[in-house]
Every structure is written in structure tokens, then in C-alpha cells.
Symmetry: C2
């Protein structure tokens, strides 16, 4: 049931930092790639490499066997899929749609149900691994949907990531991504507090990282964002504004599940404060600004 690259037209919508790299891997894997994104010149490189530009989501949807989206916010997902000129109203019966945006589990379920009623297969497949993971095709891809659809998309996923897991039915990919963001949220506060403490106590933060980075306090955040914080580098690997979006979805979804999340709530409140200070386009390590 796998897709044969040479026979498959793949549409990719949303060529931001992540999407551009991901679409590039699909092209390199031998698929016919059709692209659409809001800012056309984001597609220049891909078109040079053989990608085909489509003037609208509608045009793209009508022609492709598999349609992948990597857009910004749940509101974008909703518009791209559910509006009159969107994917579901225009995709062919039998096609497969894959939303790789980090978005709401409930919305993923809604899209799945609506797609199913039109004979279209749907997967939610958000990723982690950031810009570097997207570039190196080492993304973690968390998938929700039917296993038949998962098998169909697997070669595409494997061109973009190296840790691809079907987590469950529709929405399970998004739920897993929420669990991912929640596992990180309050930990970022800890990283900032720890490094700020080290500095204020007169220690050398780099030397401190040498002691604390590999043991029980070790984390991806400490070892990857810690050095950026020490170097004063607030460039976005992962945007503050996107992290706030994700935490809001996670908080809403937690409320629906009647789960109290004091750690997530604290992180969300601090990141909102950070955004209000004008740092929403910096990387998540900019939380440091509240502690320096």
C-alpha cells in the first residue's frame, strides 16, 4: 500500500523554515512535488529543484494524491482545510491529507471526520526536532489516524524524520505533541533559574554546565539552550510565539481532560509576559530575559 515516489503527486502547503526543508526532502526522495505557500518567493529554491508552483490551495488540492500542510496556527489549519477554497472541498476522493502543523487534537479529529465523510484519508502528524531536525531529516513525527493511512504515508515520513511512531487514532499525533510540549514547558523555567543562580552566585556558567549537563539535571533544553543563553544568543530555533500557541492548546486540552497543570500554567504565564515585553519573535531560550 506504500506510495511509489515516481507515481505520486505530493502537495505541500506552508513553506516556512520547517516546511521548506521538509518539502525539499520529499522532492529529493523522488516524488512529484506541488507547492503552495502564502509568500510565493519562499518557494523559489524548491521550484529551482523541480517543484511545481500552484496558484492556490484549490488548484493544488485538485491535482495531488497526498497533501501535506505545515502552517502556523490552528486558525490557519482550519482555513486551509475547511474553507470553501480549502483542501477538503477540493481534494479528490481517495486522496490522503496530512497535517504536520502543531494544532489542536479536537481540530484534528474534526478534520478526520469531515475527510472521512468525503472518502478522503486524514492523518495528524506534528513533529519535533526544530529547524535542525527538519534540515537533517531527523524529525520526530508523532502520528494519529488509521494504520492503513499511516502505512501509505510512511515512506514520506521517513524521508523527513527518523523517529516515526503511530501513536493512535485521529488526534493522537497532536495529543502526543502536546505531551511533548508539556514535558518541556516548566523545565525551561528551571534552566533559566539554574543559570541565573549560577551567575549571581559568582560561578562560571559554562563550567557549571560541564558539571550539571550530563547528570540527573540534564536535558535537551539545558544542553542546547543553555549555551545559547550564556552566549546571549536569542535567535529563534523555536519561536516564543509558537510555543505560546502550543502551550495554549495544551492548557485547553488539559482542561478538557480535567487535568491540573500548575507547571504548564506557570510557564505559559511567564512566556506571555515575555511576549508582552516584545520578545515573541525570539527563541524559547529568551525566557532568560525574565531572569537575567
Amino acid at each position: 500500500m506504500s506510495i511509489k515516489p515516481e507515481k505520486t503527486k505530493v502537495g505541500f502547503i506552508g513553506l516556512g523554515v520547517m516546511g521548506k526543508s521538509m518539502a525539499g526532502h520529499i522532492l529529493k526522495a523522488g516524488y512529484t512535488l506541488h507547492v503552495y505557500t502564502r509568500t510565493k518567493n519562499s518557494s523559489d529554491d524548491l521550484i529551482t529543484q523541480g517543484g511545481i508552483w500552484e496558484d492556490s490551495i484549490k488548484e493544488l488540492s485538485r491535482q495531488c494524491d497526498v497533501i501535506i500542510t505545515m502552517v502556523g496556527f490552528p486558525s490557519d489549519v482550519e482555513e486551509v482545510y475547511l474553507s470553501e477554497n480549502g483542501i477538503l472541498a477540493n481534494a479528490e476522493k481517495g486522496s490522503l491529507i496530512v497535517d504536520m502543523t502543531t494544532s489542536s487534537p479536537d481540530l484534528a479529529l474534526k478534520i478526520y471526520e469531515k475527510a472521512k465523510s468525503s472518502g478522503i484519508e486524514a492523518l495528524d502528524a506534528p513533529v519535533s526536532g526544530g529547524d535542525i531536525g527538519a534540515r537533517n531529516a531527523t524529525l520526530t513525527i508523532m502520528v494519529g489516524g488509521d494504520s492503513k493511512s499511516f502505512d501509505r504515508a510512511l515512506p514520506l515520513f521517513e524521508s523527513m524524520g527518523n523517529n516515526v511512531v503511530l501513536q493512535g487514532g485521529p488526534g493522537a499525533g497532536q495529543h502526543t505533541k502536546m505531551a511533548n510540549q508539556m514535558a518541556m514547558a516548566a523545565g525551561l523555567i528551571s534552566v533559566c533559574e539554574s543559570l541565573s543562580y549560577a551567575k549571581k552566585a559568582g560561578l562560571d556558567p559554562e563550567k557549571v554546565l560541564k558539571s550539571i549537563g550530563t547528570g540527573s539535571a540534564g536535558s535537551w533544553s539545558l544542553n542546547n539552550l543553555g549555551p545559547r543563553i550564556i552566549a546571549g544568543n536569542m535567535d529563534p530555533g523555536f519561536y516564543v510565539k509558537h510555543f505560546i500557541k502550543d502551550m495554549k492548546i495544551a492548557a485547553d486540552s488539559s482542561r478538557n481532560l480535567e487535568l491540573e497543570t500548575p507547571g504548564l500554567d506557570l510557564a505559559l504565564s511567564l512566556y506571555k509576559k515575555l511576549a508582552e515585553m516584545g520578545h515573541e519573535n525570539k527563541g524559547t531560550q529568551a525566557l532568560w530575559k525574565l531572569f537575567e
Copy 2:
């Protein structure tokens, strides 16, 4: 200036889970080992292997060139070092004392100053790596004090750990350990919230760990305590009561440094609640009890 094992009498005070393993490595490295601990039968194994029992801290202190302590709380450290029958009143001039307990940076400084006025060298050298690190001699050892004393103790440290760093002057070891505990504190809330979310959302937590353990949400806590939480294993690697002690020291020390620590404060309040529920002798992963 290094210590020659065969010529050096090392005293070890405090043979709990950690101390017993650590003292064992010193014995294996060829040092003459004198031991004292509150519960004498904790020393049985070491004495079988050649360790020499001393009936009091006073007796031990009078005979040893290097005296290492691994006791429980700052109040224990204070008593062991500063009381009339304690180490400083009884150790020989020229001896070296090394407190490996996680304790207050201020107390470390006080002991250092007092030791210095008696011609005794002092280091603070708390560890991380837990029972497993102690057993496998893979501890991280964070050292504060004079570099001359550090060089003198280094062979001993290297018999117990594999990541030994002189972080700065007296107290710097304890400050680094505080930075370590702070880097971990709120992150433990995140781990519990994430796994609780996963369960309540109907996901398989083990499968979720496969997706989220290796990426940007990855941490020692998630990958080591996560599986214990999933298995319902609340056995102590690191005791709740000791973590509370550490976080209290870190919070006090942060106040002294005029650092706000909302993440640490939240973690401390949740762990206090957990202790009030009767879980103070469980492992830190028992925080899960508040989220399950």
C-alpha cells in the same frame, strides 16, 4: 601534592546508601579507610573488606589525613564539623576535610574559614548521580575550595566519580549543586504533567516516551523517572525528603542572591504537599501521586 593511597589514612563519616558505595571505592583504590556512622551495622561490609571502625567522630578525626563526610542535612553537617566532639575540634593541623553532603553554601564557607584558622584544609564537594552513580563510581563531583586542596583530593574524587570539576572557591561546590537541583526542580512537574496528559488522552505512555524522550523535550528525568512512573515504581533513587531539603537551601540561597525563582517555588510547594501526604521516603518520581 597528590595523596598516595598506601600512605594515606582516609576517614569516612556517614555510610548511607551513597556513602557506603563511595567509601567502598576509596577502600578499593588502596587507601587505609577508617569509618564512622550513626548506625554501626551499616559499616559491616566495609569492615569485612578491610575498613577500620572508629567509635566516634573524635577518634576518627584524630587519626586521619583526609576526612570525608556524607551525612544527611545541614544540621548534621554543622554538628559533625562544628560541635565539641566534631571534626574541626579534633582533626590534626594539615589535614584535609571534604564535605560531600549537599548542604548550604554559607555553611560550607563557615566551615572553610574555621578550618583555615586551625591550619586545616577544607573542600565542599557535593555530588550528583544518585545511588547508581555512587555504586558505579560515575558520580559528578562539584568542588569548591582552594586549588591546592582540590589537587590533593583529586585521586580520591576520581575513585568515586568521572566528572570532577573545581567550580571555584569555598562554597562553589554547594552553589553548583544548588544550580543542579534548580535545573531539575520544575522539570519534574513537567514530566508528571506530560505523562498524566498522555494517559488521560488515551495514549500509550510507553509509546509516547518513544516519541518525546529523544527530542527537545528529552531529559534525564523524563527518560529515567518516566519509565518508573509508568511502572508504578516509587522506590527512592533520590528521596523526596532530601530533595525538599535541597530545594529549601536553594530557595534560601536564591533569596540571598535576590533571585526570583517561581519554578523552584512551585516545585518546592508541590513536594511539600507530597511529603504531607506521607510520601517523603519515596523517590522524587512520586510527584506523580499529585497528577495521576
